[in-house]
Symmetry: C3
Subunit: 318 residues, 3 copies
């Protein structure tokens, strides 16, 4: 594994999940693996869970960690080839990435979509350029369109929680929100679920919220939320803005919020969300405070997912 930008970089997703589960049992199993190596974490927008969980993971492997909030502590980067840099941008990604590659053994970066121009966001120029110029392995801490560390933790959590022999039914459901949010989490979740032969995967959302086909593949999409939830073992709740009417909020129907009533037809489904979650807008208090919410366990698993990824990159590249 050279980089970790999407599931496509992962030769064996189930093996990576097993590695994460092993680290959860023994955090310091490979405590010397990263000694003398430095993980650089570059944030173009802020983060709590991703930052702290990755930091803990890298330390568990003996690595040094350096965090750099480029929006707050640094300066604006130019990404355009051939630009005459007479404006606000003080450094080109060609130098910024190459220099970071001199200082770090592995480079982690978080970027974000502007939600204005679909083509621009889905082109993933920022993270692609860092990969191109850094010269060291790159880990996505969420990019404009994907959030693979989250999805790996999600898949790990389902594997950990579901111990029956049969295939669980996993439902990704859209939920309402007041802000226009990226599609990165649902895109990535779909990408990690769709080819996983150990589960049955279904997506439900209002019409107009169809995700990019490349991530959904042949997954069955049902517009009737109640129908989709029936018999579910896991309900992954998440808002996203429209991909067709790009970045727009085209539905605020509060009946899509997840409540105990909504969950009646499920198979006492476990409730997942990547957090942060707006209570009583996306998911009701009664659900989040109830016995079937596994959102905290899921967030905790971010550490072990990140640790598995970093470990794999250390083994493959050094």
């Amino acid at each position: 594994m050279r980089n970790f930008l999407s599931i496509e970089d992962v030769p064996d997703p189930s093996g990576l999940v097993n590695k994460a589960l092993a680290y959860k049992k023994q955090p310091f199993l490979d405590k010397a693996l990263g000694v003398g190596k430095t993980l650089g974490m570059i944030f173009l927008n802020p983060s709590l869970r991703t930052r702290i969980s990755t930091q803990v993971a890298a330390r568990n492997l003996g690595m040094e960690v350096i965090v750099f909030n480029i929006d707050k502590e640094g300066w604006q980067l130019e990404f355009a080839d051939g630009a005459v840099m007479k404006g606000d941008k003080t450094e080109h990604v060609k130098e910024a990435a190459a220099v970071l590659g001199q200082y770090f053994s592995i480079l982690c970066i978080r970027t974000f979509p502007k939600l204005l121009d679909r083509e621009e966001d889905y082109d993933e120029q920022v993270i692609r350029q860092f990969v191109k110029y850094a010269g060291v392995p790159v880990i996505s801490l969420e990019s404009a369109t994907l959030h693979p560390l989250q999805s790996l933790a999600d898949r790990m959590t389902i594997s950990e929680v579901f111990t029956e022999k049969r295939k669980p039914k996993v439902v990704l459901t859209w939920a309402p929100h007041v802000k226009a949010l990226p599609q990165a989490v649902p895109n990535s979740f779909a990408q990690w679920m769709k080819d996983w032969d150990a589960i049955d995967f279904v997506i439900t959302h209002p019409k107009g919220y169809e995700l990019d086909q490349q991530f959904v593949g042949t997954t069955s999409v049902i517009h009737d939320q109640d129908e989709a939830l029936t018999g579910a073992d896991f309900v992954y709740v998440k808002n996203w803005s429209s991909y067709q009417q790009y970045g727009k909020i085209i539905n605020t129907d509060p009946s899509w919020m997840i409540t105990n009533q909504k969950l009646l037809p499920t198979n006492q489904a476990k409730i997942m969300h990547c957090l942060p979650v707006r209570r009583n807008l996306v998911i009701a208090d009664e659900v989040l405070d109830g016995p079937d919410s596994i959102v905290i366990q899921q967030a905790g698993n971010r550490v072990w997912a990140a640790q598995a990824v970093i470990s794999e990159l250390l083994r493959s590249n050094f």
Copy 2:
């Protein structure tokens, strides 16, 4: 000791002071105690002394330290139960605290009073909720009403400096300021001094600056500063805003500033202040630059106080 939010959490304050003094002599006495454990430091407002001293203390015990400035790097938290989160707050403390509890062995948090609504500030909702939901030991890095790490360092400093057999006279004196400051430092200092049988403790301030009775107890309060200072061995100088006319500046009398002249009737008192101190407004240059100021030594002792607290929490909880 489960948490460290006030002196009430401490079974043996003098024992804790002795532990801090021992670490000052041998910083790396317990250098393996915290290995494999992570201290999370969450700041809802900025800090220099508290942040750095606690960070050094935790490293001396072998812990990893992760600092998170939630105001700058993260997002706004909702604290109200049952809130429908349609506004600016993107995460509820129920999730934020529980997730941090997944990542950290010990959680340190700094909060602050708004100085608008006394009941709200003295209710200490923020830190109480973090304690309630984090699931791991919590250390106050200063809360709305108390600053126990400062007070422990203060008590340690008095113990360290005063070696005579008799009881020293310790005077807490109000001093003027241009801004409305919290009562956390004087509240906490009073709380740590009032039941300490090795000293005589007196408070002096202009009328209207009475502190909350729960922290002052039966301590003698004298409104004549000169009378209070007479025979003092330690003069702890600090401004605070009014508790009665909550958060207001009701006196700016410059004659309350500590000068050499003011200190003449003392027993060549040592001068203390928690810092930062505004020179020539709170304390005159001649005093801070003179031989009896121990403010730098006092600030240095923050490391050992924090180290004693973290050490105690590590021993009691893991």
Copy 3:
């Protein structure tokens, strides 16, 4: 070596370069030298290269590192003696520096010129006061007028790259820019080059961009860039604002930009720049992307330069 503020603090610059080159070959040669010691990095303005390279360097020596962005995380400092602190400044450098000296074994600080009052900037009050009051060794991470860590890395890079027996010709050339930049990098580069007997050193810039004589000494200054570049082995490109018409941009002539054409009369010169560099304004893409640019190697060498300096301070002072 007590502090590292300029080349004047360095008894043996060539020895320090050799030390840096040795660390490049063996980063963990002295991995126990700094164990139990803490490097504090205080930024009054932001930094990428300097911060990260110094952090990596200190960790290579086993030191703890604590970064503090005083502009973002802390508060404004008062530097004037005798000030009555009734305004915005909440702490005097006398306390701030002395307290940091309690927490850190070595204090690194970055300050910057305001470019408004030459006398004020060149007086270097900020860094001088930190040295005066900190009580521990101080490293300049760039001050108002000098950037010695950069210059040490620059000199190391020339030593590393040039392996012929003869003296290389090193040319410092001014280049155009849209912002008024400090003179710290060219001042410091001149200071480190002028007395180095292993090179021939020349400066070229438009009239009106003369640097402070104390840093240039007897170095030959040529106003014809083409003439200066003839036969150059190294071309160090950098913009600076005027020292005479202090802080002003008095020339924006684009013909001073470094292009392949400009470099024809050189001895296939290696191109250096401290970065960040504005492409196609200061240096053309064709040069930066060409085979003779060593700007990334130069930036990478910042780690080893910093490591040599920290190592030297650890050996001399503890």
